[in-house]
């Protein structure tokens, strides 16, 4: 009798031990997911805001060494680009692309987790604009590696993606525009024209909202290609529509080539968490739910001014990622709130049943539910705030491109320079990233010390 009771006791302790272990395991998972992506992004982008993308890259590279998370692969890819490692950037972006492909379809377990624990357990495949920009940045990497054919491949992949989403014009104006520029650089004028037309359709329909207004450069490109192809009827229609009656398309000549300047200006907004009590009619009480929100308004950008051979040019905004990101969250909000409310009810019920069994279990459940209620703040935050572009026709030969960044008062805060070789009938590309004015007078040495401190603290 006694030995059996003793063994029972031991078994109970063993049982509770495994239970305790289980709880500890759960908590460790919870604590891990506590540091939200948004917070990580703020630390990571510190380097970018002090003109040291290498430091940001170091932080990004430390995260997710298995390369399973799409979001960290995207960040790594962008930061490697910014540190001029185009090959490495494409390598990791290709990983991201394949991981996104794996996340295709509705996941049963992840959806279950999102209504019981939180939304961050859902696989992050990126919003549509992010998935398309992934191809655009890979294409830019290939352009900068001098592999135009491979850049073309990326554009075709983006094309397949847009086709798959079908029906309503879910196309990305800038991706279409870039596609046209790449086709034109390869001498495929008919394909380029189609891309320009599609880009214009998107700008026309959504310009002023998610997209900027139709850039003048695109209007001129569209007219120019129509002229080159001899489609004069269409030319006249567009000419009237754009009211560019005195526009003269330049003629393709062996004495000229063009420079395409693309500036990735600023940084995309970061999502932060908001928590609100929401009344649930199911359990007749207020329940706390967390959801992502863009807390800060759109930042004003530094204005770029381009000079080539003493001639000034303006860059036009071709993609407003800030607007796209906000619009995308707005669209997703209904689903996010529905899941959050369902989750709150599930959590409330679990607390309730645990409380009925024992008060400690109830308390534990309440704490767990409170800690696990996190908003999904993931978004590709190393993207620029805006993509700006200009195309300049120049005589064949070497040219100095000078991009001056000016603040609201019109003062020049930073200058970027690049020498390009313009080849007859060919496009040369100047693609830059710019985030913030870096104080020039600070010596590199002292700055480095400060930065390393920051990284260790950030760990």
């Amino acid at each position: 009798m006694l030995p059996s009771r003793l063994s029972d006791r031991i078994r109970t302790i063993a049982g509770s031990n495994t239970l305790r272990l289980f709880v500890i395991c759960c908590l460790s998972v919870v604590i891990q997911s506590c540091a939200s992506y948004g917070q990580h992004a703020v630390t990571m982008r510190d380097g970018l805001l002090t003109g040291r993308p290498d430091l940001s890259l170091a932080i990004a590279e430390k995260k997710d060494l298995e390369q399973e998370e799409v979001i960290s692969s995207l960040d790594k890819g962008m930061l490697r680009r910014m540190t001029n490692d185009y090959q490495g950037s494409n390598q990791i972006l290709e990983v991201a692309k394949q991981e996104i492909e794996k996340l295709y379809g509705i996941s049963i377990t992840e959806n279950l987790a999102s209504v019981t624990v939180n939304d961050t357990l859902r696989g992050y495949e990126g919003d549509r604009y992010e998935q398309l920009l992934l191809h655009a940045y890979m294409a830019m990497n290939y352009i900068q590696l001098g592999q135009l054919d491979s850049a073309r491949v990326e554009m075709l992949q983006a094309n397949v993606k847009m086709m798959e989403w079908g029906e309503e014009p879910e196309e990305d104006a800038f991706v279409r525009y870039l596609e046209g520029i790449i086709y034109e650089a390869l001498g495929e004028y008919d394909s380029a024209l189609i891309s320009y037309r599609k880009a214009y359709t998107v700008y026309k329909e959504k310009g002023g909202a998610q997209y900027p207004v139709t850039p003048m450069a695109l209007k001129k490109d569209l007219l120019r290609l129509l002229a080159w192809q001899g489609l004069w009827n269409e030319y006249k229609t567009y000419n009237k529509e754009f009211s560019l009656t005195d526009f003269q398309p330049y003629k393709s000549s062996n004495k000229f080539g063009e420079v395409v300047i693309i500036l990735n200006n600023g940084l995309a907004p970061i999502r932060s968490e908001n928590a609100l009590p929401i009344f649930s009619s199911e359990v007749q009480r207020n329940l706390r739910v967390a959801f992502p929100v863009y807390r800060e308004p759109k930042k004003s950008l530094y204005l770029p001014r381009v000079t080539v051979n003493q001639q000034p040019y303006l860059l036009e905004t071709v993609e407003d990622i800030d607007a796209l990101a906000r619009y995308s969250l707005e669209q997703a909000m209904a689903g996010i709130m529905a899941r959050a409310t369902a989750r709150a009810v599930v959590k409330y019920n679990s607390q309730h049943t645990a409380n009925e069994n024992s008060s400690i279990a109830g308390l534990l459940m309440t704490v767990t539910n409170l800690i696990t209620e996190r908003a999904d703040t993931r978004s590709w935050t190393t993207l620029p705030q805006e993509i700006q572009l200009q195309r300049i026709v120049l005589p064949v030969g070497e040219h100095q491109i000078r991009i001056q960044m000016t603040n609201a008062a019109g003062q020049v805060v930073d200058v970027m320079e690049e020498t390009v070789v313009v080849k007859p009938k060919k496009s040369s590309f100047v693609i830059k990233h710019w985030n913030t004015p870096v104080p020039k007078q600070v010596k590199a040495g002292s700055q480095t010390d400060k930065q390393t401190d920051k990284i260790t603290a950030g760990k």
């Binding site: 029972d8 078994r11 495994t18 239970l19 289980f22 379809g105 996941s107 491979s150 491949v153």
Partner: protein, 213 residues
């Protein structure tokens, strides 16, 4: 009373079983993640994983092209008029498809088959030549008189092989029809005559699952 005891014992047993079962399940997941399973397959086995261009496509193209290029009249015509095997150089095969395709694989396959058939000779391509020339230049300085190779003794090619890969993709949510067309052309150097055009078409449909675990 008795049933109550039975119940609590039963519960304990349940907890015990669960305590053993849960880590076991967790362990099995971990083990599955740790050890990749490797199965060796024949190099000509069809392994379609994602629907993208793969080794099977490359092999199919090589097979078709080799068979075609060796059975056509350009070869016998050239033999008759020149009394020697034609010399071919591989130019560029442009990838105009929607995938990053390595064209070197089936070109290398073709090259091997054609050289081994003894009917066609190949000369090194532009990039390979540079390395070889460097070596010959080096021999000029360092190799002994009798083993030294002279410059200016290269064989000029009679034909150049060029080509392109194109693709057409049609897609609606979750479903794709992919069509690849591979065109290879043999162009006579000097006259720019096309003596042979090889073509291979591959079509597949890819369906992506609507659900995953």
């Amino acid at each position: 009373m008795k049933s109550g005891i039975f119940n609590s014992a039963h519960n304990q047993a349940m907890v015990r079983r669960l305590g053993v079962l849960l880590p076991a399940i967790a362990m099995s997941f971990m083990l599955a993640a740790c050890n990749p399973t490797v199965t060796r397959v024949e190099s000509d086995a069809v392994t379609d994983l994602s629907g993208n261009w793969n080794d099977t496509d490359s092999r199919l193209v090589a097979q078709e092209m080799i068979q075609d290029v060796l059975s056509r009249s350009w070869l016998t015509k050239f033999n008759r008029t020149n009394g020697k095997a034609p010399t071919v150089i591989v130019g560029t095969v442009r990838n105009l498809s929607h995938e990053h395709i390595n064209t070197r694989t089936f070109i290398a396959d073709m090259e091997r088959e054609l050289i081994n058939s003894g009917e066609v000779e190949f000369v090194a391509s532009a990039t390979d030549r540079d390395e070889v020339r460097g070596e010959v230049k080096d021999q000029d300085l360092h190799a002994s008189e009798e083993t030294r190779k002279a410059m200016g003794q290269e064989v000029g090619a009679d034909f150049m092989l060029q080509g392109s890969i194109n693709s057409i993709v049609d897609a609606v949510s979750g479903e794709q029809a992919r069509f690849y067309q591979i065109d290879l052309t043999l162009i006579e150097l000097g006259t720019n005559r096309k003596v042979w055009v090889g073509q291979k078409k591959i079509k597949k449909t890819v369906e992506k699952g609507g659900f995953r675990l």
